[in-house]
């Protein structure tokens, strides 16, 4: 298994509170991604990173921010959590999809916003 961990694995929080999810990799892969998974929607990309301090938006980035200060860590922050952000969040890593590399997924974080 690719060395990807996510923390926390489960979190319950209240509307309006800030939340930070952490993804940590030991593979030294360049690319890191944050997805959310909701019933009926598959996986949707929130933000991704193509290097330290290099990030870009995905298709559902509103209400989320990210930071990557080290190769191994990619943080996802919900500045003010809303109930619509209740979801399962997956982190993924890849060397380079452009060169046909695989994308590996972390175990996921289940977030509930009350």
């Amino acid at each position: 298994d690719a060395g990807i961990t996510q923390s926390p694995r489960h979190k319950v929080t209240e509307t309006g509170t800030p939340v930070t999810l952490r993804c940590h990799q030991t593979e030294n892969h360049r690319y890191m991604y944050w997805y959310r998974q909701d019933p009926g929607h598959g996986l949707r990309l929130i933000h991704y990173s193509y290097g330290v301090k290099d990030t870009d938006k995905g298709e559902v980035s509103d209400g989320y921010s990210v930071s990557r200060s080290k190769t191994e860590d990619f943080l996802l922050t919900l500045e003010s959590a809303t109930s619509s952000q209740t979801s399962v969040y997956f982190c993924a890593i890849s060397e380079s999809i452009n060169r046909g590399a695989e994308q590996f997924f972390g175990p996921g974080t289940r977030l509930t916003v009350l």
Binding site: Y35, L45, G58
Partner: protein, 112 residues
């Protein structure tokens, strides 16, 4: 904008029979990924298809890619209960920092 469609979204399969599921996408790409997800678990990589005509097989699963038709198929031979899961295809966007666009997934259920 790249769109990825999978059909059917749910398939009930009988043990021992053969089935094919489909993944269509809307814009040019020559990189397509198949993943499997068991309930409550993460996604597991099954296949990476990197060119027109690519075919990969693992056990009872065989995946192929037709980039001209923008279509990938996942063929299941002699379905068994262990294949019950949700299967996602994902297509790589073109561009300098490419990323994957996922379909909504197909849930397969194998019955005796």
């Amino acid at each position: 904008e790249l769109k990825v469609e999978q059909n059917p979204l749910f398939l009930s399969m009988q043990e021992g029979k053969n089935y094919t599921i489909y993944c269509n996408y809307s814009t040019t790409s020559d990189r397509l990924y198949w993943y499997r997800q068991d309930p409550g678990k993460s996604l597991e990589s099954l296949f990476v298809l990197l060119s027109n005509g690519a075919v990969k097989q693992e056990g009872r699963l065989m995946a192929s890619l037709d980039t001209k038709a923008r279509l990938s198929t996942l063929h299941i031979t002699a379905a068994v209960h262990d294949l019950s899961a949700t299967y996602f295809c994902a297509v790589a966007n073109t561009g300098a920092n490419s990323k994957l666009t996922f379909g909504k997934g197909i849930t397969l259920s194998v019955r005796p």
